[in-house]
């Protein structure tokens, strides 16, 4: 494998250098355009978030963050992510394993279904749950009879978060596992390993960086999700508000300093995610370089 991979990578860099002979002006123009775009759409808003958040001083910033409703929103966000991410981790590994290592009827259907949350508007995903579990929904009367409250309550928020974030881990792992093939697992089995041992000792270590990458993206989305959660939440302060919903409420009340203060927490989370993502990308690249 390696002896084939090496020459192709050399030729790839060669063609790249040959085709990269654009005039200097074009190169500068394109780079400047990209930078201007980044500045206008990413850096500027980020600065605005932090300047606005600190507009009334550090004390007001701190107060907005430790206010009970804000704390409750943060707690709910962490809770939803803490349930959704591990579940999607298990689901993602199971789905990727099945898709990458086995042939079965309905495989392409499964792959399409995994992508569904990406192609459906989050608001629609939220509405599906309202239509299913809401008071006027299909299962609403039955749930009410048994005194189970899903919609406009924490379970609904967790459900919506799981639905919206479930493609992330699977999407990350499927191509990785497909590229790795099944030879190493077969080698493990021939050497006497059980299926479980092959999974823990061979399959999982081989995909660990990709897996972590998927988890980080999944977590970022779980904490930042607005649309689907907004529909099922009911916006009950201190009860069913996540961070994004809390920001919206504060902003609608013209309490922009507090709104931006809470928003800055999400912005920080995004920055941490970006950093973690870059580190992981670098690690994954290192690993593939090692292997070739």
């Amino acid at each position: 494998m390696s002896s084939i991979a090496l020459p192709s990578s050399i030729s790839r860099t060669r063609t790249a250098s040959r085709t990269n002979r654009e005039p200097a002006l074009v190169r500068w123009l394109l780079t400047a355009l990209a930078l201007a775009f980044l500045f206008g759409f990413l850096f500027l808003p980020l600065t605005v978030v932090f300047t606005q958040a600190l507009g009334k001083g550090w004390a007001a910033y701190g107060a907005a963050l430790i206010e009970p409703n804000a704390l409750s929103a943060m707690w709910l966000t962490v809770l939803a992510a803490a349930i959704a991410v591990p579940l999607n981790l298990v689901f993602g590994i199971a789905a990727a394993w099945a898709i990458a290592k086995f042939e079965f009827p309905g495989k392409s259907l499964l792959m399409t279904l995994i992508d569904l949350p990406f192609s459906v508007s989050p608001v629609v995903s939220g509405l599906i749950y309202v239509l299913l579990f809401g008071l006027q929904g299909w299962l609403g009367p039955w749930l009410q009879e048994h005194d189970i409250k899903l919609i406009f309550a924490v379970p609904g928020i967790v459900l919506a978060t799981i639905f919206v974030t479930f493609p992330f881990v699977a999407r990350e792992l499927v191509p990785l596992m497909q590229a790795q093939g099944t030879e190493e697992e077969e080698a493990a089995i021939v050497l006497g390993a059980s299926g479980w041992q092959a999974f823990w000792r061979v399959t999982l270590p081989n995909v660990k960086w990709g897996l972590l990458y998927g988890v980080i993206l999944c977590n970022a989305r779980a904490m930042g999700e607005f649309g689907a959660v907004s529909v099922v939440s009911g916006h009950i302060r201190g009860m069913t508000n996540t961070i994004p919903l809390h920001v919206e409420i504060l902003y609608n009340e013209y309490n922009s300093a507090a709104a931006f203060a809470v928003a800055s927490v999400l912005a920080l989370l995004a920055l941490v995610t970006l950093a973690a993502k870059s580190i992981l990308e670098w690690r994954i690249k290192q690993q593939t370089v090692d292997r070739s």
């Binding site: 002896s3 084939i4 030879e183 021939v190 050497l191 041992q197 000792r201 090692d290």
Partner: protein, 364 residues
Amino acid sequence: MSIEINDVEKSFGRFKALKNITLNIGSGELVALLGPSGCGKTTLLRIIAGLEAPDSGSILFYGEDATNRHVRERQVGFVFQHYALFRHMTVFENIAFGLRVRPRGQRPSESEIRRKVHDLLNLVQLDWLADRYPGQLSGGQRQRIALARALAVEPKVLLLDEPFGALDAKVRKDLRRWLRRLHDELHVTSVFVTHDQEEALEVADRVVVLNEGRVEQIGTPDEVYDHPETPFVYHFLGDVNLFHGRVHDGHARIGETQVDLTGGSDHPESAIFYVRPHEIEILRDGGGTGTIAAKIRDIRPLGATVRIELERIDDRGSVEVELTRDQFGRKGLSEGDKVYLQPKRLRTFDGNTKRETTLEAVNR
């Protein structure tokens, strides 16, 4: 351990990969499964290993039915074509893997594992690579580590899938001689798959030639090379020239030429004669009977031998002749020369019985 393969069949969808394969492999033998790609040789190897299940037929290990035995319990060592080393483990851990995954009761102690792995590393002469990762090794080194890993579980049978396929020519030659010596030392029953006839002839005790899911011939390297049972085997094991003609009354007729024979039955209708490039003599002059007139089209020196391509004067196709450097030097041939070809040995196959007959030309 001996292996018996009885009437094994395997299909993938509508494609019949193996048809009625019956084969016995003796204890301690080194057998090559030889054939072009798509002939089913790797499928057969995977069925012996238990990585695939046959649709019908049975596999016996040492006389015991092992058809339904799980891969884990077959005690086979398998060396994959691309080695399939565990890339996140060091060379040491790769080799130790088979010992570490054993159930607690049968697992050797850490010191024993250590000793065993180092013994194996010494056996494949790569002790100094214990702490490297597979990605840091050359192809030949990976291949030997893969072999050491397979041997760690003390397999009763060693199976190798195109063991030298991904290596360059020089390393390949060294490694196959090394594998032969290793086999002579360990005497473990081994089967390897290859599409390279030279490799099969050099390394194996016996060669199984496969084509389109069927066994064409089983025999020692000499048998399959010198007495191919079918035209396919003839073609596949080395280059061959074809002459159309007839056999009658003690001589073969090829076009206008009559070659006297020492024996052989009649093929009065028509026959195809198979002649290897080194079984043809080139004569500078001698336009009598028994020779085919031809013109030299191309001369290509290939190391120790010289390959000469000729065009028959009667326009019935081209002929390839192989001479040693010495012979070539003595004859002083050059492109465009008109010469005479004298086949020393002709082979022909009976269309009905598929039997091969060798016809020796009379030496004059």
